[in-house]
Amino acid sequence: MPAQPEVRSGLAVGVGALYAAAASLSRPLTNAALVAVAVPVVIVFAAAARPAPVVPAGQRLRRTAVVWGAVLGLAATVELVAFVRQPAYDVASPELPTLSVLLDPLTGAGPTRFLAWCGWLWVGWRLVRR
């Protein structure tokens, strides 16, 4: 008998939190962190192979797309400007920090790294949820 949706969601949250706890112990710039990211990426890509239900586009959806497109486009522009003004590819500029440099104190270690992992996994789960 297939599991109820609530049971599946509860299981997903539990497994995700456990995985985030373990993965957040890995240090950035290590193979362990790379593998920890690669595992959910492979799972989510495999799960996303199934076609998603078609959503009819309406006026509200188009307007929302414009607003979010503007926000994300501007964010990408600021990030790109900061990135190309770095002295080197792997040397951050303190004057023009990229978003990842600003978030480093949060995503580098500790409970905030665990929360970042939880957030990232949740988005991945949300992307393949039916």
């Binding site: 950035p28 996303a48 959503v55 006026q59 307007r63 979010w68 004057e95 990232w120 991945g124």
Partner: protein
């Protein structure tokens, strides 16, 4: 204002704009829908799904692995 402060202010303004857009979408104001509904529409197509997944994977690699 230094360049650093300007960049941080730009990110802060964009973060506030994102929160505002999401709140407006959730309360169905300004003719917007929640970002989740937009995401559902984007991932309904094969190309949209691929682009969103690549962006998500890149974020994980960029912020958590490197």
């Amino acid at each position: 204002m230094t360049a650093r402060a300007l960049v941080i202010a730009a990110y802060a303004v964009l973060a506030l704009a994102a929160v505002f857009a999401e709140l407006a979408g959730r309360t169905r104001r300004l003719g917007l829908v929640p970002a989740g509904a937009l995401l559902d529409a984007v991932r309904a197509t094969r190309v949209g799904r691929f682009v969103v997944l690549v962006a998500w994977a890149w974020l994980g690699w960029h912020l958590l692995a490197r």
